[in-house]
Every structure is written in C-alpha cells, then in structure tokens.
Symmetry: C2
C-alpha cells in the first residue's frame, strides 16, 4: 500500500477512463477521498453505487472545492466550458489535469481559465477498450501503458513531478512531450486508425451487392477487428476529429498517397511491390509485441484458449 498522494481527488466525468482511474487509485490507496461529478444524474448514481466516488455532486463546480487534484475525464469538446465553470472554485495549489486525446486544443480551451496558483498539467493515458461508461472501468487498464503529459513551458516542476508519480502509481509509464508533437503522434497511432475503422464499417453498411447479414456472418475474415475499434464512443471521437483537424488531415493525405501506390500495384499486377509492402508491415508488429504493447497470442474472435460450448456447436450444426 502506497501512502496517499492526495487528500481529495475530484473526478469530473466517470466514464471508462475516469472509473478506471478510480479503481487504480483505490488499488494503491492514492487518495484519502475521491469525489466526483457526472453529466447525468444516472451516471452519478451509478458511480456512487459502484463505489467509484465517495461523494457525488451534480455540478462540477461543487465537486472541485477543496480538491488538491482535479481530473477532467470528459470528451475533448467539453473541456473548455467545464474549465470556465470550475475555475473560480479551484483551490490554491491544486493540480488540474485532463485525459483528453488531443492536447493543443485542450490547452487552448482550458489554460485561459486557470487561475494563478493552480497548476494545469495536461495529460493523456494511451489506454482504453472499445467500451464506455462507469461500469467499463477496471484497475489494470493503465498497467504497462504510456501516459503522456504535455505541460506548457513555465509550469511548476513540482506539480509535473507529482502528477508523473501519480500516473506511475496508477500503473502507467510516463513520457513528457509538447502538445503539438503529442497531437501528431496520436494522429497516426490512434486518430487515423479510428477514422479508417469507422469508414470501412460505414462502407460495408452502404453496400447493395452484399447484404449487412452477409457482412456480419462472414466478418471473421478481418472485418470484425475493425468493428471492434469502430465500437468506441462516438461523442469522444467526434470531438477528437474536430479538435485535431490539421494533424489528422496530414496523416490522411499520406495514407491516401500510400493507398494510391498499393492500388496501382494491384492494377498493374505488380506482385513484388505488394509482397514487399506486406512484409514491411509485418515487421512493425514484432516491435509492438517486443515492447509489451500487445500480446503475441493469436486473436480469432473468442476469449483466448476457450472453446465454444458443445451445445452451441451442435445447435449450429442443424
């Protein structure tokens, strides 16, 4: 058990990330008290009943009072208005952070509201699942994953170190970089993959010559993996694309250029180019497994190692 790092942590938003932070704090006893607020009364009630927060407030402005750590776990587009609402109620010396997937826009929207004496340190844990909501969280979500902090120049170094230690205690590894670079890195590692996954699922839905039923039945050929990514929270992702437009557009241009090359290779029956490109892509996978960011166990659409129940199978055989 680690000694508590904060007296009172205010979680503004208790979805997948907010609730996972709560579980991970409880696991290590990092906060003497966890309070919170949520956008809806229903979510707030769920968060209280799950024990994610000790006290719940309908208004974020109430929740942050007396907190020495305030974490905004809300869609990127909600950060600005929230910051304006809570700013007058933040305690002197408090650390204010967020978990948004875009950092330049969040700095733009939050920083102007932050009063003197409050330390704003933007953050982003690179971890998640395709699920959403307070029930989706679990303590291990951040274990072995990276959290990026993007403090602006001049930010109090002690506050940055303390937040870094906090994320480390949550199980994460921590890297510090500037907000612009973060947005470029995430545009390729997260934002473009999600946009492409959403798009390919949309394309499948719009087909006339292949039915949706067929798309679902035969999805084990690769499509189902895209649908997993495309099951992520639509509000969160809408805000990501609205707020990281430039970097996403740059990555999309490069993606389209590369796709045009593959298309030309297929049209020209240029098997050598296809083979070379496919082989290159395989290598980067090995790096990801070596870095512990994915498991080498094959994924075939079931819980690994489990076998379907015999009854299901015999039923399916009829």
């Amino acid at each position: 058990m680690t000694q508590a790092m904060f007296e009172r942590v205010a979680l503004i938003g208790v979805g997948l990330i907010g609730s996972s932070i709560s579980h991970a704090m409880r696991r290590r006893g990092l906060a003497k008290e966890i309070v919170g607020s949520a956008r809806t009364k229903a979510t707030l009630a769920t968060a209280l009943s799950l024990g994610l927060i000790d006290k719940g407030y309908e208004r974020a402005a109430e929740a942050v009072k007396g907190a020495d750590l305030v974490i905004l776990s809300v869609p990127v587009g909600a950060c600005g208005p929230l910051a304006a609402e809570i700013a007058p109620h933040l305690s002197a010396g408090a650390i204010l952070t967020d978990v948004g997937s875009v950092k330049e826009a969040v700095v733009r929207d939050i920083a102007p509201h932050v009063p003197a004496g409050v330390h704003f340190v933007p953050g982003h844990p690179i971890a998640g699942t395709e699920q959403s909501g307070p029930e989706a969280g679990f303590a291990e979500l951040f274990d072995g994953r990276w959290t990026i902090l993007t403090p602006e120049p001049g930010t109090d170094a002690v506050a940055v170190e303390k937040l870094k230690a906090f994320w480390t205690a949550l199980g994460s590894k921590v890297e510090i970089m500037n907000a612009q670079h973060h947005d470029m890195v995430l545009a390729i590692t997260s934002h473009l993959p999600h946009l492409i996954a959403y798009n390919i699922v949309n394309t499948a839905e719009h087909l006339q010559r292949v039915t949706e039923k067929e798309v679902i039945k035969f999805s084990a050929g690769g499509f189902r993996d895209f649908t997993r990514i495309a099951a992520s929270d639509p509000t969160m992702w809408r805000d990501v694309f609205l707020n990281n437009k430039e970097a996403v557009m740059e990555m999309l241009r490069r993606f389209s250029d590369d796709l045009a090359e593959l298309k030309r290779a297929i049209e020209a029956a240029d098997g050598d180019t296809l083979f070379r490109r496919f082989t290159e892509a395989r290598d980067i996978r090995r790096g990801i497994i070596a870095a512990g960011q994915d498991t080498p166990a094959p994924d075939f659409g079931r819980v690994h190692g489990s076998q379907p129940a015999p009854e299901t199978e015999s039923g399916a055989r009829k």
Copy 2:
C-alpha cells in the same frame, strides 16, 4: 467419435489452415489416414513430427495417389500449377477442394485440369489468425465459423453434400453460393480490411515527424489492432489481391468515396455528420457479437482477464 468419412485425405500444404484441418480431422476421427506434401522439406518434416500427417511426400503428385479427398491449402496463386501437376494422379471418384480466399480465379485456374470422374468443389473457411505455418494450427479454428463452398453448376450433388458434411464435422457452419458473389462478399469483409491495415502500417513507417519508436510505444491507442491484421502471411495476401482485382477495386472506390465524405465533415467542422456515422458503425458491431463471430470481452492488448506479473510492473515503474 464420428465414423471416418474418408479413407485417405491428402493435405497439399500444411500451413495455418492445412494444419488446423488436420487437428480438426483427428479430433473427430474423420480420416483413416492423412497424408500430405509441403513446398519445403523443412515444413514437411515439421508436419510429420507434429503428427499432422501420417506420411509425407516431397511431390504433391505422389501425395494425392489413392486419396479420396484432396485439399489444396496453398496460396491462391499456387493452385493452377499444382492442379496441373496432380491432375493425372487423382483417383476416380475423389473430391478435390481448396481453401483459397478467392474463388473465381481458383475455378479458372483449377477446373480446366480436373479429369472426368473427379469432383472439384471449391471451398473457403472464413477463419484464421494472424499467424502462419504448421505450428500455428489448432483443432478449434473452424468452430462456429462459416465455410463457403462454391460448386459450379453441374457438380455432383453427392460430392457437394459430402464435403459440406465434412466441414460441418470440422466444426464449421457451411453456406453455398456462387464464386462471383463469394469474391464480392470477401472483398468487403476480408480483402479490403487487410489492404487498409497493411496500408496504415506502411504510412506509419514512412513518417518523418513521428518516429517508428513512438509509433510502437503509443500503439495502444488503436494502431496495434491494425498491425495484428497486417501481420498476416504476405504471400497469401499478395495472391489474394492479384486474383480478386475487380471486386477489391470496387470496394476501394466505395471506401474512398465514403472517406472523402468524412474528410469533408472534418474540414467543415460538421460534428453532426461525424457523430451520425460513428454511431451507425457501432451498431453493426452488436450484430457481429450477437451472431457469435466475436466476443464482447474488451480487448486491451493482453490476454483477457490476465494481469501483468507484479515484477514486470515494478520494473516498469522505475
């Protein structure tokens, strides 16, 4: 234990699919004898040592002699030459099938070689993992998945029924459709997703402003799921794209049109369109889980439910 359906099954090729067929046959005792051949001596030796085949032959023409079921489990591009090689050695009344991901081209390449009295029934199990080779196979690969058979008009109905019963006994569900429709269905459910996955991994590798090290470190944001798909066998996939050009090109055109719409929405800051498209994509995921083609368990880059070893974690925290 089911009664043996075949006296002697010849597996031509013992990679992921061929070896899984062997395991699934053994599980139910479907063949009295399993023989096989492989492209390399090393693979043949591995197949023998793993017990995938009872007898191994360096030449496919030798392996098929006396077999009442011959299964070609090789890349699509290898089917034509193989068919020419084995044709004179096929037994009267034998069923010849394949497992290729493209069916029109396979019919085009194999059918002309098939002697009278041999029943050619093209097949394609929609199942796989990102791994390759004889060690990658396992008996449960086909359980609950679909296998598509695409017999040409006039094919012996008894042979088709027998092959259907065989795939059912391997654990699969079976659907029969024509080769052209198969190729269109697979173009959207499998071929386009793989092309897009390969392409996005290539794009990430070509970046200057984001390093490969960063792409790997922060891959948990979505990118790693694409690298899993892009880790599939390059030879197999080269042959798929060379042999299903038209259908893939049609899907690629539709994909690009849809992507252009998303791009316009981002540029115009049209959040409503983005939200609507993302919500639609989420719905199809539910259909896939309801159809048993994927598990609802969240994927977060580890074996489901497992926790990282504490030593690893404390090491990572340093």
